[in-house]
């Protein structure tokens, strides 16, 4: 027994180490540059740690305005701890997500163990989670979702443990608190946790009543949630955040609603409601599009289906096997119902947004699907071992083939993530912004004014809204000074601090400026018409195509 326990622990530790390695190895190098979310968060961490205020001078805000998106602040506050150890390095902002992503492997192990009481299956599930494309990808960027993600699985594991075994009531309460804590961390969790808890209460109602863990924990849950409800009702920034991403902002839905307008307003209201329901349901079911899940959902490339999904391609048959196994399973009827209800409920947040797919709001679903596919693989491996007519050699061959397929899939992920993703999507990482910022500071003494127009794009233009954060951070600009200097200018999109003006460049007027360094993309300036001698530097995307030019006026 002791041997089994130690073997189990060793394997679990090895899996967690493997998962940790995949999440921390070259964390500062991949993704190749901090994107605008990470950049703004990092500078806010430094600002909060040093001054207690965000860069706009708000004292310990609940939601950070950042660049107009009003992100919940927990990730920034959490990173201030990492800041104490690692300072204001680029990697600092990624550490909490990587750490929580690693801990999620452990929480998933506990969750599966509590659910099916099978440590082999739990180990296999944790291995699958450790190697999961979505888990690795989202753990390696400063993604606030990952914090609540860990807490949900951890809390569910504790709750399941409490109701299924003779455990202290504090285990149950800790589980409940852990899950409710998750609702504070990310809007998607705020939307999914209540229905998840509700389904838990319904499915395990008999066990909960037996343990008298029904009424007062429920009340306790409400008390713990009260501050959040208070915040939602009183903090317009948080509400703004939720509103801007809601499905109602989908332009396609807007067209359908417009087409449903009738002269009778009551009828219009009825049809509009129906269209909302239809649209949301369609969006919901589309989250289970196999192409999205197993083919291209992570969007690493611009090559259509030659991409990777949140789950590996090889997981398709394993997932199907897992579902079949769960349905066929004669015992654990409540557990499997709960697992399936978790999948169905956790996808709600991702499907109620304005985007067709929001993988970053559906990580929990991907992890649950990964767990189901691990169940499928467990069944498959057990069947191969237990089937007597399969000869030992054939058995080894089958295991070898399966392992080889998994390894190839993993190498494919590594290739796409480390090689192709930067080439194909460097724009989405705001790739040359670091170089631009460093160069701007290198020219600080040569020009009285430096103008930067962050409109850029490889194929189509977009605005890099966090440009001021990049310049401030890479110049080591004192956040306190930034809070004092930062102001909105009169020109389109203009923000100013020190000698930097970040704004739209209007070339017919700006070409006549003197003693000014202008950094802009070909989307803003007619680069072919400008004297070559005036162009003193070119900044490229990762794939080598030009992103910005520095023009000396």
């Amino acid at each position: 027994m002791r041997k089994v326990v130690s073997k189990k622990i060793i394997l679990l530790v090895l899996i967690i180490i493997l998962g940790g390695f995949l999440r921390f190895f070259k964390l500062d190098k991949f993704p190749v540059q901090l994107n605008h979310d990470e950049m703004s968060q990092l500078y806010e961490v430094i600002s909060i740690a040093q001054t207690g205020k965000d860069v706009y001078g708000n004292y310990l805000p609940v939601a950070f305005p950042l660049f107009g998106v009003y992100a919940p602040g927990h990730y920034i506050y959490l990173t201030t701890i990492a800041y104490q150890f690692f300072g204001g390095e680029e990697i600092t902002i990624r550490i909490p997500a990587a750490l929580m992503g690693t801990l999620t492997i452990f929480s998933c192990y506990l969750f599966v163990l509590a659910l099916f009481n099978n440590w082999k299956l739990a180990l296999l599930a944790s291995l699958f989670v450790a190697l999961s494309p979505s888990e690795i990808f989202f753990s390696r960027k400063s993604f606030e979702y990952m914090i609540g993600h860990f807490f949900i699985f951890f809390g569910l594991a504790l709750l399941l443990n409490y109701i299924k075994k003779k455990r202290s009531v504090w285990i149950g309460i800790t589980g409940l608190v852990s899950i409710i804590l998750a609702t504070y961390t990310y809007t998607a969790h705020t939307a999914t946790v209540p229905p998840i808890l509700f389904s838990f209460l319904i499915i395990f109602r008999k066990e909960l009543i037996k343990k008298k863990f029904y009424i007062w924990p429920f009340l306790f849950g409400i008390i713990v949630t009260l501050p959040l409800i208070f915040l939602i009702f009183t903090n317009s920034d948080l509400r703004f955040r939720a509103n801007t991403i809601f499905i109602s902002k989908d332009p396609q839905l807007g067209v359908l609603l417009n087409n449903a307008k009738m002269e009778n307003s009551l009828l219009t209201a009825f049809l509009s409601t129906k269209i909302y329901i239809d649209y949301a349901f369609n969006r919901y079911l589309h989250q289970f599009d196999p192409t999205y899940l197993f083919g291209e959902g992570l969007d690493f490339t611009n090559q259509g289906y030659i991409d990777i999904g949140p789950l590996y391609f090889f997981q398709i048959p394993l997932f199907l096997l897992g579902m079949i196994f769960l349905i066929k399973l004669s015992n654990f009827s409540k557990e499997k119902k709960f697992l399936i209800s978790l999948i169905l409920l956790s996808i709600i947040a991702g499907s109620l947004t304005f985007e067709e797919h929001s993988p970053h709001r559906s990580v929990m679903t991907f992890t649950l699907l990964t767990i189901v596919s691990s169940i499928g693989s467990y069944w498959l491996f057990s069947s191969i071992i237990q089937t007597k007519f399969i000869k030992t050699n054939i058995r080894y061959l089958l295991f070898g083939l399966i392992t080889l397929t998994m390894i190839l899939n993993f190498i494919y992920l590594t290739h796409l993530y480390t090689v192709n993703y930067p080439y194909e999507k460097s724009q989405s990482m705001h790739y040359p912004f670091r170089d631009v910022a460093l160069y701007a500071w290198s020219q600080y003494d040569n020009f009285p004014t430096i103008i930067f127009d962050p409109q850029f794009g490889d194929v189509a233009p977009e605005i890099g809204v966090a440009a001021h954060y990049y310049i401030a951070y890479y110049g080591g600009y004192d956040p306190k000074k930034f809070q004092e200097d930062y102001r909105i200018g009169n020109k389109p999109r203009e923000v100013l601090f020190d000698k930097f003006s970040i704004r739209q460049v209007y070339w017919p007027e700006d070409k006549d400026l003197k003693n000014t360094l202008v950094i802009a993309s070909p989307w803003s300036v007619p680069i072919n018409e400008i004297d070559r001698d005036l162009i003193i530097k070119r900044f490229d995307f990762y794939n080598g195509s030009p992103a910005f030019y520095a023009i000396k006026l």
């Binding site: 359908l256 087409n259 449903a260 009738m262 049809l271 129906k274 269209i275 239809d278 649209y279 349901f281 369609n282 919901y284 079911l285 589309h286 289970f288 599009d289 196999p290 192409t291 197993f294 083919g295 291209e296 490339t301 090559q303 259509g304 289906y305 030659i306 391609f313 398709i316 079949i324 349905i327 066929k328 190839l408 190498i411 494919y412 290739h415 796409l416 480390t418 090689v419 192709n420 080439y423 194909e424 794939n543």
Partner: protein, 544 residues
Amino acid sequence: MGLAYSLINPKMKLNNNWLVILLLIVAFLVRLFPLNFPAFTSDEARIAFRGYTLIRFGTDELGRKYPLIFNSLDDYQLPLTSYITSIGVAFFGKTDLGVRLPFILIGTLTIWLVYVISSLFFSHKFSLLSMLIASFSPPLIFLSKFPNDLIILVFLLLILFLNLTKKYVNLLITSITVVLLLSLSKFSWFIIVPYVAFTLFFYQDNLTKSKKLAIVAFFLLLNFLIIFLFLRIPQSVRSFSENNFLLFSDISIKNGIDKLRGQGIQSGWSVFLEKILFNKSHFLFVGFLHWLSNIQPAVFFAQFDKNGQFGFVSMGAWSKILIIPFLAALINIIKKNGNRKLKFLLGYFIILTYPVFFAYPKNLSNVTILILPFMAILIAWGFFSLKNWVSKLIILLMILEVVINLSYLNTQIKNTNDLRPLWIKEIVLDGFKASEKNKVAFSDDITSDIVPFLQWYALHTSTGSSFNLTFPYKFRQTQISDIKIIGSEENFYNCGLDRPTYIFASKRDLKKIHKAEKINVNKVYEDSLRSEVVYLLPPIICVK
């Protein structure tokens, strides 16, 4: 099978027959009214007009005598649909009723066939339920309302199923059915043989294995013969490549492989590993994912066709609520409950849709209509596991959803404003009237192809006899008698002494004309969204 023919068995309870007849009447009425909905797409209008010319003049719209291969904007069209359309025109003339009725009848009979096939598996009650479910499937309703090959394909496939599962397989009837199927659409060339083989081996218990194999071999030969004959037509290879094997002709996959591999080599990864990771096997993965994507749950229960061509934009192949009995049926299958043969129906999901694999990147979710009759049976089976009151509620909600959608068609008309331009009728009728005395021209970007609309809504003569085309492929007409279709490359000038033209200009051409000369517009036409689409100009301007 006994129950299958109970309809014509006088000993059977009258009640049962009445219910079947009642449901058939409901299915027929749902398909019949409103008669002019949905408005035709340009290809449907082309088939409608062709049906008229075939029966009236013995030629197609391009003046060819009883051809076997027809023209369309996408591909060659096989003959059966056009000739079936002409039968309706023979009885009811060049009217909506004439063109649509054959399809309404075929669609209604398809529902009856669902009942008959269900009877092989279920009691009368659940067979009726299958029938009811199929009656209210939006794509099965839609495709029964305009000329198209899909509904005939569904109908003939069900006939074939019944023939093949009879105690004594009548080879003559079966062969005729197969020949009809092969002359219906190229898609059927891919599915017939596996369909016959699967049906024989899983549902036919009376024939020996060798006889089954002989039948399959016979149809395989027949299939090859048809393909061989087709390949003798010019551009047949192109037709296959552009419509059925796009996966292999689509350059984006090969480019993608090369690009990603190149990036790896540039980053120092070994060429050998690059070749292992990025190679032609990606064609298989892409095709497979494309196929899965076209048969995903959302297609069946949420949005069958986002363009609204084959169903309501906001509905799947079934009412949303039917996902519950369908999942219940799948659980039954996995748990090994119920009739073994019912489970094999899932096989048709693969057999009838696998050609989608080769069609990447073309979205072909509309071919999933072929499995809807079998799916109706599975859904009905799912009701077995549900409580009575739940079943009743589901059926009520199912009917309610379809009825609501059918009651507010204006929304659907607006959603399909470009694809099914209801508003085009007024424009082409005005244009045709003007062409009796004057030259008339239409911009070619008013709709995807305006010629079939002109022919269908306005013309009563044969056209195009001057075209000397044997096998027209994606052919576009640019002139019908005195009516000219204005292309984007054409210019305008003040007519002066030349014979003036009434121009029905799109925004594109109006802008061009205004650059040359400022003139007032005689009349403005709006589309279903109340946007200005066409401007009738006074006869001052001529087309160069």
